[in-house]
C-alpha cells in the first residue's frame, strides 16, 4: 500500500518500468505496454466474497470501504427462485467520468488502461465520487480524504502477480490478462461473443452474463 502511495506521490511510472508513459495518449511509446483487461464470468461466481477480502487484505482500505464488492439480488417466485451475484469494481473506463469531473486534473489513464489518481494533485473535492456511475471510488480517510479506488493492483502487476481479487477467486470467475497478447483461459474468454460491459460506461472490465437456468426457463 505504501509503495503505491509513494509511486503516486512521485507521479512517476518509473516503478513499472514504463518510463515516459506518464502522460495519457502516449500509449504506444513503449512497444511492450500491456493493455490490461478483466473478464468476470457470472456463471462461475459463487458470491463467496473471497475477492472482496483478498482485496481488503492487500489494499487495507479503511473500515466499510472496499475497492470491490459483490452485489446480490433475488429473482423469480417460489419455487423457481434464485439469487444472483455481480462483482463490482472500478471499470477502468475508457472515458472515465471521474477524470472529467475532476477540476484539478488529478485523474489520468495509464497506457495500460488503468485509471489512476495523483495523490499530490487530489484535494479530496469528491466530484469524482459523485460522478462515477459504478460507485467505484471513494474518499479515503487514511489519505486525508483523497480519492482511492481499484488500480488493478499495480504493485502486484509489477512483480508479475495477478491482482489480488483475480488470484483469490476460487472458481476462476475473474479472468485477467493483456488484451494485446492474450493467453490461456483469459485469451479463450476474450474470443467469446457474449461479453458485456457494466451498463453505464464501458471500460476494461466485461462480464459473461448469467445464463438462465432451467428453473427460470420453466417459469
Amino acid at each position: 500500500m505504501e509503495e503505491r502511495r509513494d509511486f503516486l506521490i512521485q507521479g512517476g511510472m518509473i516503478a513499472l518500468g514504463l518510463a515516459g508513459l506518464a502522460t495519457p495518449g502516449k500509449a504506444e511509446a513503449a512497444g511492450n505496454t500491456p493493455r490490461w483487461a478483466m473478464i468476470i464470468d457470472l456463471n462461475r461466481c459463487t458470491g463467496c466474497q473471497s475477492c472482496v477480502i483478498a482485496c481488503k487484505a492487500k489494499n487495507q482500505t479503511p473500515a466499510g470501504l472496499f475497492n470491490t464488492r459483490i452485489e446480490s439480488n433475488e429473482a423469480g417466485s417460489l419455487p423457481t427462485v434464485r439469487t444472483s451475484y455481480r462483482p463490482m469494481l472500478c471499470q477502468q473506463c475508457k472515458e472515465p467520468a471521474c477524470a472529467k469531473a475532476c477540476r484539478r486534473k488529478a485523474i489520468t489513464t495509464l497506457p495500460s488502461g488503468i485509471v489512476v489518481v495523483d495523490q499530490a494533485r487530489c484535494q479530496g473535492d469528491g466530484a469524482c465520487v459523485a460522478a462515477c456511475p459504478h460507485r467505484a471510488c471513494f474518499l479515503n480517510p487514511a489519505r486525508d480524504n483523497r480519492m482511492d479506488k481499484c488500480d488493478f493492483c499495480l504493485t502486484r502487476l509489477a512483480k508479475g502477480l495477478l491482482p489480488a481479487c483475480v488470484e483469490g477467486c476460487p472458481s476462476g470467475a475473474r479472468l485477467f490478462g493483456d488484451a494485446k497478447a492474450p493467453q490461456g483461459e483469459f485469451g479463450a474468454y476474450l474470443t467469446r461473443n457474449d461479453l458485456a460491459p457494466q451498463p453505464g460506461r464501458a471500460g476494461r472490465v466485461s462480464y459473461v452474463p448469467l445464463r438462465k437456468n432451467v428453473m427460470e426457463k420453466k417459469s
Binding site: 500491456p34 459463487t46 473471497s50 472482496v52 433475488e74 495477478l162 483461459e185 485469451g187 437456468n213
Partner: protein, 1015 residues
Amino acid sequence: MKKAADSGNDKKISRRALVKGGAAAAVTMAWPAKLALAGQDAAAQPEGQKGGSRLDPDARVVHSVCLGCNAHCGNRIAVKNGTLAEISGNPYHPYNSMAEPAAYQTPVAETLALPSPVCGKAQDAANYLTNPYRLIRPLKRTGPRGSGSFAPIDWEQLIREVALGGKIFAELGEERTVPGLAELNSDAPIDPRDPGLGPKRNGLVFMTGRLQNGRQEFIDRFVKDGFGSTNRIGHTDICGLGFRMGNLALTEGKEVELKADPWGAEYILVFGANIYEALQPGINTYGAAVARRSAAGKLTFAIVDPRAQNASVHAHDWIPIIPGQDGAFAMGMIRWLIEHRRYNHRYLSAPNLEAARAAGFATYNNATHLVIDDPAHPNHGRFLRLADLSLAEDEKAIATYIVLSEKEGSPVAFDRLDRAVLDRAATLRDAKGRAIRVKTAFRLLREGVMAHTIEQYAAFAGVPAEQIAGTAAEFSAHGTRAAVCQYHGAGNYASGTYAAFAVAALNAMVGSVEMKGGYLSGGGGIGTWKKGPYNLTDFPGKRKPAGVKISREKGVYEKSSEYREKKAATGSGYPSRRPWFRFTKGGLSVETLSGIDERYPYPCGALFTYFYNPVYSTPGGNRYIETLRDPARVPLHVSIDTSVNESNLYADYIVPDVTYLEGHYGWLNPHAPALRFTGLRTPAMEPLTCRTADGRPFCLETFLIDLAEKLELPGFGEGAITDRDGGRHALHRAEDFYLRGYANIAAEAQVPVATATELAFVERNYPVSRFKEILNPEQWRQTCHALARGGIFSDYQSVFEGERFLHGIKRTVLYNEELATSRNTLTGERFPGTLCYLPPMDASGAVLAEKDRAYPFTVVTHKMNVHTQSRTSCHRWAMEIFPENFVVVNEGDAARMGLRDGDRVRLRSASNPEGVEGKAKVSRLIRPGCVAISFHYGHSQLGASPLAVKDAEQVFLGGAAVAKAGGMKGDPRLGRGLNPNLLSRLDERLANTPLVDMVGGIPDFSSTRVQLVKL
C-alpha cells in the same frame, strides 16, 4: 538465499510448471525499481497484511494447511517484518487447484509465482492472529463461575493446582476440596456397583471442539494412553453426525463420509449441504468445482433444502423441502425408481464383489442377500448364513451369506453366482427340516419404501409429487455419474439416521458408490505417523482405557448392571435412565454434557474443554450453563482456548492457546470425496502467547506435557519416545512429538531427500526449522522435501482405474443387520434394519411438528461463506461485509404479517418462552413456514462484553487497547445479531436436555419451531 534466484531468470515464470487454466500468470514484467518509502508511521497502518508478497526478497514463505475452517485447503503464507504480508493458496495442494495441482516434484522456486486461491476466511487470518481479545496468560477465576472475574496466575501455580487440587478457591470463600487429576489417577472402579463402567480415571472428561489430526493424537496420548480415561470425546454430533449415520448404515460402519464427486459428476443432488457457503472440502474447493463445471455445462445440480442457498445462483432446480423431511423425499424418489424400474438392476443383482467388478462396478450391494424375517427364529433380523441352513458352526459357514438363484429360486452361497434374485420372499428349510422365513434385503427395502405413496411422501416433504418424479428421473439418467451431496442440513435432527440412510441409499440405487463422478469416500493419506523411524504410539506404562464413555456411545446397555437390576426387579431391563447408543459413529458431545448434567452413568470428576464453546454452538447449549456452574456436577473445569467465550466463562482455569498461524502442528488427510494426500501443517509465525521459564509457549501441548510430568504419567517427559535404533528421546516440547511424526510420514511415504535449495528454503522460512536437531540430518532433509511443499500430494486422476475409485469400500447394504438388532434403550424395541419413514420425534416418541404445532415457523440455521463456527467474530473484514445476521422470512409470510426488511421481531419457542429478538429480512429464498438464521452472530463474549479480569493489560494480546479500570472493555459491535441456538427444542422426557436422535445421538438442528411476532 533469494527464492527467485534458483529459477534462473527470476522474471519469467516457467511455462511447463503452469497449472492448467492458470495461464493468466504468464506475463513478463520488469521488476520495479527500488521504491523509497515515504515517511510513514508504521503504527498508524492498519493491522494485518502491510503490502508485499511472497515474491519479495525479504519475505518468509511457508507452505502449510489453512485452518480458517475445517476444509483444510493448502495455504502459502508470506511474512514480512514479523507481520502477515500475503496469504494465498498452495499450488501443490489439490484443494487449491481443482484437484489437479502442480506436479509434486516441481521445484518450489517454480511454483512460488503461480496463482493459487484461498477464501476470505483464510485471508482474515491476519485478524484472527492479532485479535486483541486473545489471552496470552493463564487465568483462574476470582469470583463465582460465570461472573467473568478472572486473574492471571503463574504457570507453575496452574499446573500444581490442576494436578493436585485442594482448597484452591478458599480465597473466594469456597471451602470445598477440589479434586485434582491426581485423585482421579486410580484404577479403582468409578462405580463399585458396576465395575463394567470403568475406573475412576474415566472421571477425566476431555471434550474437544475444533480438533485436528496431530493435536488429536497428542491429546489421546495424554488422555487415553497416559492417564487411561476413555472419555476423550469429540464434537462429531453437533458437526455432522446426521449424514454420517446414513453412511454408517449404508457401509456397515466402514465409512462415514462419502459425497458426490464434483470433479467428475454429471448430476449432483444436494441435500442440506451449503455448497457455496460451507461444506468440507470448502467453498475454495467443492463449491468452486461445482461452479466451474456447471459454468462449462458439464454438471447440473439440484438443491433439496428449506433455503434456496447461495448455490441457487447456478442450480438447475430447488426443492424447498420442509425441515426434517429429507427421508420422505428420498424414499419418494426410491419408490419412483422401483416403480419405473429405473434403479441399476445390474448393480443390485450382483451378489458378490467379483460379480459386481466384472460388471464394471467398484462395490457390490447386498440387495440379493437373504434376511431372516422370522420372529420365531433365534437369528431373526440377521442375514441368513450357511450356518443357519447347514447348522455347521465353522468360520466359513458363519461368514457365508445366502442368495437365491434366478433359475431355480433355490438357496446358493453368495459367492457362487454372478446374478441372484433381487426381490423375493421365501420359506427355506434348514438341515433339520425347520422352516425359516426369509426375504431379500431388496424386498425389505421395498416394503419399507412402499409404506407410503409418492403423493404422501410429497405431502410430508411439502413439495409437489412431480418434483419427486422429475428429480428421480434426472438422478437415474446419468449412469454412475450421479450422486448425492448430503451434509449437515439433511439428517442433523431427531430421526435423522433414517433420513440419512434413505438419502445415502439413493446412490446404491444407481450403482454410483465409489465410481468416478459418483458417491465417493476420501482416498486417505500418504505415509503415516504411526510407523517409521520413531515409535510414537507405544511406550512403557501405556494404559488402555476401559469401561463405558459417559456419553454411552457404543456402549451396550444390556451389559450394564442397571439393565440387570432393572430386569430382575421388573421383568424388563428398559428403560435406561438416558439412551445408550450402540449403533453410532460417536463423538457425542451433547450426550456427554447431558451425562455430566445427570451424573449418568457416573459422575464427572474433571472437565477439560479444548477449543470448544458448547453453550454457544450446541442447539439448546444455554441449558448447560446450569451444568457448568455446578461444582457438584463439574468439580473442576479447565478450558484451553484462545479467548474467553460463552462456555469457558464458567471455567475455573483458562489456559491460553496459540492460533493455527503459530502452532497447531498436524497431518491432514482428505475429506471425502476422492483424492489422496497428507497436508503437513507447521506454523508461519512465532507464538504470541507468553512463555514458560524455559522458553516454551503457553499452549495446549506445553500444558499437557507439564501436567503429565507433574503427575508422572507415562509417555511424557524424559525418554518418552523411542526410535528404531533403541535410542530414547524426551517429550518436553510440542515439536518433540510432531517433528518425529513428520519424519515418520515422510519416511513411510518414501519422499525424496530435499535438494540443497529446498532445504535452505525451509531453514530460512519455516519457524519449525528452529527445532531441526530433533531429527538426525538425513531425516530432517527428507522431511524438508515434504515441508517445503506443505505436504505429500497426488492428483485426482491417480486414484482411479477407469471409472473405479481405487481406495474405496467394497460393500454397501440396503439392510443393516447391526442396526436391526440394536434396540432403543428407552423402549426396548428394535430399530428397523432398512429404510423407514420417520418424522422427527422426541424421546417419548411424540412427533415434534404435532407437539409444537402452536408454533408456526420452523427455524433452520446455516453457515456463511466468510465465517466459521463460533470463533470468527474477530474476523474484522468478514464483520465489515456482514456486521450482523437476520431472521430471514419468506416473502409471502412477511406480507401476511406486515413485515419489512429491518423490522424488529421476537421469536419464542416451547423451550424458550421468553425468546430472542432479531431483525427481519424478507426473502424469496426460504420456503413458507420456515425462517432461516445464520450462525456466527449473537455472541455475548469473545470481546462483546466487559469482563472483570485483573491486570487485563497483561492478560490480553491487545493490552491497553482493550483494558479499562477493573478489567477488559467490551465492544458491543462484536455482539450484534442473534444466536438461533438459544431457541432450540429441549426434551422434557430427558431432564430438559437438548433433543437428540434415539439411534445415533444426533442433536437436532431442524425441529425447533417458533412463534414470530413483529415488535
